[in-house]
């Protein structure tokens, strides 16, 4: 418990220092609870998520970093590996492939990578997965694009 707190505190300081270094990620710690974090990540370019900003919620367990943080999308996203309703993310490093050497920051990077490279064979969002698996890239792209515009981009006018 104390260890996780100490580690999170160090990560917090690191994030403060590194802010400018990674323009695609903004990690913010809850003011009152260091086990709750929010991240804003930019949709990677050349994907249907480009131009969108997606909000992630981190819930860090007390056994962190031995246990992975729980991460979910707060912003709606149409992606095979993200549950459309709950925002739950299917990502190996958040489950069995977790290593304590990962940080919240690197998890964000991994999620950005996942957005660019979906794994349609282990879908949490079957519709999205099926589109990709059937090779309907255009269908996938336009659906994902639509939801990006609806949920992750600023409303115009």
């Amino acid at each position: 418990m104390q260890a996780s707190r100490a580690r999170l505190f160090k990560e917090y300081k690191e994030v403060q220092r590194e802010k400018v270094a990674d323009p695609d990620i903004q990690l913010v710690c809850d003011d009152s609870n260091i086990f709750k974090w929010t991240a804003l990540i930019k949709g990677p370019s050349e994907t249907p998520f480009e131009g969108g900003v997606f909000q992630l919620a981190f819930a860090v367990p007390e056994q962190y970093p031995l246990q992975p943080p729980q991460v979910r999308f707060l912003t709606k996203i149409f992606h095979p590996n993200v549950h459309f309703k709950t925002g739950e993310i299917c990502l190996d490093i958040l489950k069995n492939a977790w290593s304590p050497a990962w940080t919240l920051q690197s998890v964000c990077r991994a999620i950005i990578a996942l957005m660019a490279h979906p794994e349609p064979d282990s879908p949490l969002n079957c519709d999205s997965g099926n589109l990709l698996r059937s090779g309907d890239l255009r269908g996938y792209y336009s659906m994902a694009r639509m939801y990006t515009k609806l949920a992750a981009m600023p409303k115009k006018g």
Partner: protein, 351 residues
């Protein structure tokens, strides 16, 4: 009184019921406020986003210069930060003493350090050498001085060609702490406050004023070009270790001042990262001579024990730990081996 507690609710943990209600409301409100802030941040970000995306590549190229600019202001910033970094004081301390005695015992080194200490640029060196883990000749100097470059995952390991390049550069140009100082950039994580603390303390200790003239003399020679990577080079792989510089510097010292400086940078800790990548606490001597996994991933004994109790897999390669860790002897006889292993590992874990 009630109004008092309302206004101060956030400050005093409110003792009475009224205040508790207020506290609740406050919490709800602050939650809203938080979301609000996030939204605002997001919108701002988005509005820049369009431009930024296009400029992304340009940005990368511009990074170097930007950083330079930033760095110019940095010395003061780091000064200001010193007190903040105080919590690291203790852990660093022994390193520091270490340096003291070393430096006192041989003039060349103390010279360098005092040169560095003569302005606050010393911070920069450490920062640069450890953070971007690249180096200039200046960077080398400070890398040595603080010795506990917060390489973080960058386990100290030799990076031969770069070491050579740096050593060459250092020899040709001599050191130019003063000119080269700016290369430091705050954002990079591993440059910990430890450096900031050491710096402040190093400077005064080594008779700064005495050495100033020399510093001035050395400046003109050096321009810091011809290095493998400049410390502020955006393209330098972050995982490159800093240790090469620690090793290369004493060499250049020796050549420059004609007498053998005690290469205290070599001592013991050379091959290990200075802080545990799991808990980020500084590694002590036992930890640094502890090599639990063949992949070279180092961590402190405490974290190692905790991991053994849990899933018992190495954080670096995710393979189960062997029962008998490869201990200090590996670092004793297989010098080059231990140097190299951590590096490959750090590459893996960082990518």
């Amino acid at each position: 009184m009630v109004s008092d507690s309302i206004t101060n609710a956030s400050i005093h943990a409110a003792p009475n019921n009224n205040a508790r209600d207020v506290g609740k409301k406050k919490r709800a409100r602050s939650a809203k406020l938080k979301q609000c802030k996030l939204d605002v941040r997001r919108e701002q970000w988005l509005s820049q986003g369009a431009v930024k995306n296009k400029d992304c590549k340009a940005e990368q190229n511009g990074v170097v210069e930007e950083r330079k600019d930033r760095n110019n202001h940095r010395p003061f910033g780091s000064l200001g930060m010193r007190p903040g970094g105080g919590e690291n004081d203790g852990s660093i301390h022994h390193h520091h003493h270490h340096h003291d005695s070393d430096l006192d015992s041989n003039s060349p080194n103390s010279l360098t350090s005092s040169v560095l200490g003569s302005n606050y640029s010393e911070t920069n060196f450490t920062g640069s050498s450890s953070s971007s883990s690249s180096s200039s000749s200046g960077g080398c100097c400070s890398g040595n001085i603080t010795e506990d470059d917060e390489g973080g995952g960058d386990d100290g390991c030799l990076d031969d060609w770069e070491a050579v390049a740096d050593a060459l550069a250092a020899n040709e140009k001599s050191k130019n702490p003063c000119l080269e100082s700016p290369p430091e950039h705050d954002p990079i994580a591993q440059s910990g406050s430890p450096q900031e603390t050491t710096i402040g303390s190093d400077g005064p200790n080594f008779g700064v004023e005495n050495s100033k003239p020399r510093c001035a003399r050395t400046i003109p020679k050096a321009s810091g070009n011809g290095l493998a990577w400049r410390p502020d080079d955006a393209f330098r792989p972050q995982s490159l270790p800093n240790l090469a510089k620690q090793v290369s510097l004493p060499n250049s010292n020796r050549k420059h001042y004609g007498c053998g400086g005690v290469p205290w940078a070599y001592s013991g800790v050379v091959s290990a990262p200075s802080s545990c990548p799991i808990c980020y606490e500084d590694l002590d001597f036992t930890d640094t001579s502890f090599l639990p996994c063949l992949c070279g991933f180092r961590l402190c004994l405490f974290c190692h024990k905790r991991i053994l109790e849990e899933d018992s897999r190495c954080p670096g390669c995710r393979k189960p730990y062997e029962h008998e860790p490869v201990e200090a002897e590996a670092s004793v006889h297989g010098g080059s081996l231990t140097f190299r292993l951590p590096r490959s590992c750090s590459l893996i874990t960082r990518s």
